[in-house]
Amino acid sequence: MTSDGGGTVIDLRPVAKPAEFEDTVRPHMEYLYGLAVRLCGNRTAAQDVVQAALLRAFRGFGRLRNREQPRLWLTRILTRCHIDRFRAEHEAEETLSLDDETRFDLFDKITEEDPFPYSDRVHLDFLDLFDDERILEVLQRLHPAHRTAIILAYVYGFTAREIGEMTAATTGTVLARLFRGRKQLERGLWRYAEQRNLLRRGAPA
Protein backbone atom coordinates (compact mmCIF):
# COMPACT_ATOMS: atom_id res chain seq x y z
CA MET A 1 0.00 0.00 0.00
CA THR A 2 2.88 2.35 0.56
CA SER A 3 4.57 1.92 -2.78
CA ASP A 4 3.56 1.65 -6.37
CA GLY A 5 4.98 -0.84 -8.86
CA GLY A 6 8.11 1.21 -9.39
CA GLY A 7 8.93 1.19 -5.70
CA THR A 8 8.34 4.90 -5.22
CA VAL A 9 6.76 5.85 -1.93
CA ILE A 10 3.31 7.25 -2.40
CA ASP A 11 2.40 10.29 -0.36
CA LEU A 12 -0.51 9.03 1.72
CA ARG A 13 -1.46 12.45 3.01
CA PRO A 14 -4.89 13.25 1.72
CA VAL A 15 -4.55 15.51 -1.27
CA ALA A 16 -6.32 18.77 -0.61
CA LYS A 17 -9.40 18.98 -2.74
CA PRO A 18 -9.97 22.19 -4.65
CA ALA A 19 -11.05 24.94 -2.25
CA GLU A 20 -10.59 22.63 0.74
CA PHE A 21 -8.25 25.10 2.41
CA GLU A 22 -10.68 27.90 1.74
CA ASP A 23 -13.57 25.90 3.18
CA THR A 24 -11.52 25.01 6.26
CA VAL A 25 -10.45 28.54 7.15
CA ARG A 26 -13.51 30.53 6.10
CA PRO A 27 -15.56 29.81 9.26
CA HIS A 28 -12.63 31.06 11.36
CA MET A 29 -11.97 34.39 9.62
CA GLU A 30 -14.00 36.44 12.07
CA TYR A 31 -12.27 34.72 14.98
CA LEU A 32 -8.77 35.13 13.55
CA TYR A 33 -9.34 38.77 12.77
CA GLY A 34 -10.72 39.51 16.26
CA LEU A 35 -7.72 37.81 17.83
CA ALA A 36 -5.34 39.71 15.55
CA VAL A 37 -6.93 43.09 16.36
CA ARG A 38 -6.62 42.36 20.07
CA LEU A 39 -2.99 41.32 19.73
CA CYS A 40 -1.98 44.19 17.41
CA GLY A 41 -4.26 46.94 18.64
CA ASN A 42 -5.03 48.24 15.17
CA ARG A 43 -6.82 47.02 12.08
CA THR A 44 -4.07 47.57 9.52
CA ALA A 45 -1.50 45.46 11.35
CA ALA A 46 -4.23 42.93 12.17
CA GLN A 47 -5.06 42.39 8.52
CA ASP A 48 -1.36 41.94 7.68
CA VAL A 49 -0.95 39.39 10.46
CA VAL A 50 -4.08 37.49 9.38
CA GLN A 51 -2.80 37.30 5.81
CA ALA A 52 0.66 36.20 6.92
CA ALA A 53 -0.99 33.52 9.07
CA LEU A 54 -3.18 32.32 6.21
CA LEU A 55 -0.16 32.04 3.93
CA ARG A 56 1.69 30.01 6.56
CA ALA A 57 -1.40 27.89 7.19
CA PHE A 58 -1.82 27.26 3.48
CA ARG A 59 1.77 26.07 3.18
CA GLY A 60 1.43 23.78 6.18
CA PHE A 61 -2.08 22.60 5.39
CA GLY A 62 -0.90 19.11 4.46
CA ARG A 63 0.34 18.64 8.01
CA LEU A 64 -2.99 19.51 9.62
CA ARG A 65 -4.45 16.25 10.90
CA ASN A 66 -7.77 17.38 12.26
CA ARG A 67 -9.37 19.46 9.53
CA GLU A 68 -12.70 19.52 11.35
CA GLN A 69 -11.20 21.47 14.25
CA PRO A 70 -8.41 23.69 13.00
CA ARG A 71 -8.87 26.44 15.57
CA LEU A 72 -6.00 25.52 17.88
CA TRP A 73 -3.71 25.10 14.89
CA LEU A 74 -4.78 28.42 13.34
CA THR A 75 -4.42 30.20 16.68
CA ARG A 76 -0.87 28.92 17.06
CA ILE A 77 0.05 30.05 13.55
CA LEU A 78 -1.48 33.49 14.00
CA THR A 79 0.18 33.97 17.39
CA ARG A 80 3.56 33.00 15.93
CA CYS A 81 3.05 35.39 13.01
CA HIS A 82 2.31 38.17 15.49
CA ILE A 83 5.46 37.36 17.46
CA ASP A 84 7.54 37.32 14.25
CA ARG A 85 6.17 40.63 13.10
CA PHE A 86 6.68 42.35 16.42
CA ARG A 87 9.75 40.42 17.48
CA ALA A 88 11.64 43.39 18.92
CA GLU A 89 8.67 44.37 21.09
CA HIS A 90 8.12 40.78 22.20
CA GLU A 91 11.76 40.41 23.15
CA ALA A 92 11.91 43.65 25.12
CA GLU A 93 12.62 43.05 28.77
CA GLU A 94 9.53 42.05 30.73
CA THR A 95 9.90 44.38 33.66
CA LEU A 96 7.57 44.86 36.55
CA SER A 97 8.64 46.93 39.50
CA LEU A 98 7.87 44.48 42.23
CA ASP A 99 7.02 46.89 45.01
CA ASP A 100 4.65 49.03 43.06
CA GLU A 101 2.98 46.86 40.55
CA THR A 102 2.54 43.55 42.30
CA ARG A 103 1.05 45.14 45.39
CA PHE A 104 -1.58 46.92 43.35
CA ASP A 105 -4.95 45.27 43.70
CA LEU A 106 -7.71 46.82 41.62
CA PHE A 107 -10.52 45.34 43.69
CA ASP A 108 -9.12 46.90 46.88
CA LYS A 109 -8.26 50.15 45.11
CA ILE A 110 -11.86 50.59 43.97
CA THR A 111 -13.13 49.74 47.44
CA GLU A 112 -10.79 52.27 49.06
CA GLU A 113 -11.14 55.12 46.60
CA ASP A 114 -14.86 54.63 46.04
CA PRO A 115 -14.93 56.36 42.65
CA PHE A 116 -18.72 56.19 42.43
CA PRO A 117 -20.15 57.41 45.72
CA TYR A 118 -23.69 56.23 46.49
CA SER A 119 -23.39 53.25 44.16
CA ASP A 120 -23.82 49.84 45.72
CA ARG A 121 -22.20 48.17 42.72
CA VAL A 122 -19.09 50.29 42.56
CA HIS A 123 -16.87 47.53 41.13
CA LEU A 124 -19.26 46.82 38.30
CA ASP A 125 -19.70 50.54 37.66
CA PHE A 126 -15.96 50.80 37.28
CA LEU A 127 -15.80 47.98 34.73
CA ASP A 128 -18.79 49.41 32.88
CA LEU A 129 -16.56 52.36 31.96
CA PHE A 130 -14.75 50.10 29.54
CA ASP A 131 -16.31 49.29 26.20
CA ASP A 132 -14.48 47.17 23.62
CA GLU A 133 -12.60 50.19 22.26
CA ARG A 134 -11.23 51.18 25.67
CA ILE A 135 -10.39 47.59 26.59
CA LEU A 136 -8.34 47.44 23.41
CA GLU A 137 -6.49 50.63 24.36
CA VAL A 138 -5.67 49.35 27.84
CA LEU A 139 -4.48 45.99 26.45
CA GLN A 140 -2.03 47.83 24.20
CA ARG A 141 -0.28 49.22 27.27
CA LEU A 142 0.78 45.73 28.31
CA HIS A 143 4.05 44.14 27.31
CA PRO A 144 3.29 42.10 24.14
CA ALA A 145 4.28 38.82 25.78
CA HIS A 146 1.96 39.54 28.71
CA ARG A 147 -0.80 40.81 26.45
CA THR A 148 -0.63 37.68 24.30
CA ALA A 149 -0.92 35.41 27.35
CA ILE A 150 -3.78 37.44 28.85
CA ILE A 151 -5.75 37.51 25.58
CA LEU A 152 -5.31 33.81 24.84
CA ALA A 153 -6.21 32.79 28.40
CA TYR A 154 -8.92 35.22 29.43
CA VAL A 155 -10.59 36.13 26.16
CA TYR A 156 -10.31 32.79 24.38
CA GLY A 157 -9.98 30.34 27.26
CA PHE A 158 -6.76 28.54 26.28
CA THR A 159 -4.86 26.80 29.07
CA ALA A 160 -1.38 27.85 30.18
CA ARG A 161 -0.02 24.69 28.57
CA GLU A 162 -1.65 25.44 25.22
CA ILE A 163 -0.39 29.03 25.35
CA GLY A 164 3.11 27.76 26.11
CA GLU A 165 2.96 25.60 23.03
CA MET A 166 1.67 28.50 20.92
CA THR A 167 4.28 30.98 22.10
CA ALA A 168 7.22 28.59 22.45
CA ALA A 169 7.44 29.20 26.20
CA THR A 170 7.30 26.90 29.20
CA THR A 171 4.07 26.63 31.18
CA GLY A 172 5.89 28.28 34.10
CA THR A 173 6.80 31.27 31.95
CA VAL A 174 3.20 31.58 30.77
CA LEU A 175 1.93 31.53 34.36
CA ALA A 176 4.43 34.26 35.29
CA ARG A 177 3.31 36.30 32.29
CA LEU A 178 -0.32 35.88 33.26
CA PHE A 179 0.46 37.10 36.77
CA ARG A 180 2.40 40.12 35.55
CA GLY A 181 -0.08 40.81 32.77
CA ARG A 182 -2.95 40.77 35.22
CA LYS A 183 -1.18 43.25 37.48
CA GLN A 184 -0.37 45.51 34.53
CA LEU A 185 -3.94 45.22 33.34
CA GLU A 186 -5.38 46.15 36.75
CA ARG A 187 -3.01 49.10 37.00
CA GLY A 188 -3.73 50.02 33.39
CA LEU A 189 -7.49 50.06 33.86
CA TRP A 190 -7.17 52.32 36.89
CA ARG A 191 -4.70 54.70 35.25
CA TYR A 192 -6.78 54.90 32.10
CA ALA A 193 -9.87 55.83 34.13
CA GLU A 194 -7.89 58.46 36.02
CA GLN A 195 -6.25 59.95 32.92
CA ARG A 196 -9.56 60.21 31.10
CA ASN A 197 -11.31 61.67 34.13
CA LEU A 198 -13.83 58.87 34.12
CA LEU A 199 -14.05 58.68 37.90
CA ARG A 200 -16.61 60.81 39.68
CA ARG A 201 -14.40 61.03 42.72
CA GLY A 202 -13.31 64.63 43.23
CA ALA A 203 -15.84 65.97 40.74
CA PRO A 204 -17.56 69.18 41.79
CA ALA A 205 -20.69 68.47 43.77
Binding site: Y33, G34, L55, F107, H123, D132, A153, V155, A160, R182
Partner: protein, 83 residues
Amino acid sequence: MISCKEAVSRLYAYLDRNLGRIPEAEVEEHLKLCRHCCGELEFAKQVRTALRRSGASTALTPEVRTHIEAYVKQLENKRGTKR
Protein backbone atom coordinates in the same frame (compact mmCIF):
# COMPACT_ATOMS: atom_id res chain seq x y z
CA MET B 1 -8.19 28.60 57.84
CA ILE B 2 -5.81 30.18 55.33
CA SER B 3 -5.42 33.97 55.48
CA CYS B 4 -6.95 36.41 53.00
CA LYS B 5 -3.49 37.16 51.64
CA GLU B 6 -2.95 33.47 51.02
CA ALA B 7 -6.43 33.04 49.53
CA VAL B 8 -6.03 36.00 47.15
CA SER B 9 -2.63 34.74 46.03
CA ARG B 10 -4.29 31.46 45.05
CA LEU B 11 -7.48 32.96 43.68
CA TYR B 12 -6.45 33.14 40.04
CA ALA B 13 -4.89 29.71 40.06
CA TYR B 14 -8.16 28.54 41.58
CA LEU B 15 -10.17 30.29 38.90
CA ASP B 16 -8.03 28.70 36.21
CA ARG B 17 -8.13 25.28 37.93
CA ASN B 18 -4.38 25.50 37.98
CA LEU B 19 -3.62 24.94 41.64
CA GLY B 20 -1.80 21.70 41.00
CA ARG B 21 -0.72 20.12 44.28
CA ILE B 22 -2.32 22.77 46.46
CA PRO B 23 -5.75 21.63 47.69
CA GLU B 24 -8.69 23.58 46.26
CA ALA B 25 -10.67 22.85 49.41
CA GLU B 26 -8.64 25.39 51.40
CA VAL B 27 -9.54 28.16 48.98
CA GLU B 28 -13.17 27.06 48.83
CA GLU B 29 -13.46 26.98 52.61
CA HIS B 30 -12.00 30.47 52.82
CA LEU B 31 -14.34 31.78 50.12
CA LYS B 32 -17.34 30.37 51.95
CA LEU B 33 -16.56 32.39 55.05
CA CYS B 34 -14.91 35.52 53.68
CA ARG B 35 -17.03 38.12 51.95
CA HIS B 36 -14.02 40.16 50.90
CA CYS B 37 -12.38 37.32 48.99
CA CYS B 38 -15.71 36.23 47.56
CA GLY B 39 -16.09 39.75 46.19
CA GLU B 40 -12.58 39.61 44.81
CA LEU B 41 -13.29 36.31 43.04
CA GLU B 42 -16.49 37.69 41.57
CA PHE B 43 -14.60 40.78 40.44
CA ALA B 44 -11.89 38.66 38.80
CA LYS B 45 -14.58 36.91 36.79
CA GLN B 46 -16.12 40.24 35.80
CA VAL B 47 -12.77 41.60 34.62
CA ARG B 48 -12.53 38.63 32.28
CA THR B 49 -16.03 39.23 31.01
CA ALA B 50 -15.03 42.84 30.31
CA LEU B 51 -11.95 41.68 28.39
CA ARG B 52 -14.19 39.58 26.14
CA ARG B 53 -16.31 42.56 25.14
CA SER B 54 -16.41 42.74 21.41
CA GLY B 55 -17.93 45.34 19.19
CA ALA B 56 -17.15 47.48 16.20
CA SER B 57 -13.46 47.67 17.09
CA THR B 58 -12.82 43.93 16.79
CA ALA B 59 -15.38 43.01 14.12
CA LEU B 60 -14.42 41.94 10.63
CA THR B 61 -15.80 44.53 8.24
CA PRO B 62 -17.26 43.36 4.91
CA GLU B 63 -14.45 45.13 3.02
CA VAL B 64 -11.69 43.43 4.99
CA ARG B 65 -13.47 40.07 4.70
CA THR B 66 -13.69 40.45 0.92
CA HIS B 67 -10.03 41.37 0.80
CA ILE B 68 -8.91 38.41 2.91
CA GLU B 69 -11.15 35.95 1.06
CA ALA B 70 -9.73 37.14 -2.25
CA TYR B 71 -6.26 36.55 -0.83
CA VAL B 72 -7.14 32.96 0.12
CA LYS B 73 -8.61 32.33 -3.34
CA GLN B 74 -5.42 33.62 -4.86
CA LEU B 75 -3.41 31.13 -2.75
CA GLU B 76 -5.61 28.25 -3.92
CA ASN B 77 -5.34 29.33 -7.55
CA LYS B 78 -1.57 29.58 -7.41
CA ARG B 79 -1.39 26.00 -6.22
CA GLY B 80 -3.77 24.98 -9.00
CA THR B 81 -1.44 26.32 -11.65
CA LYS B 82 1.61 24.68 -10.08
CA ARG B 83 0.22 21.18 -10.56
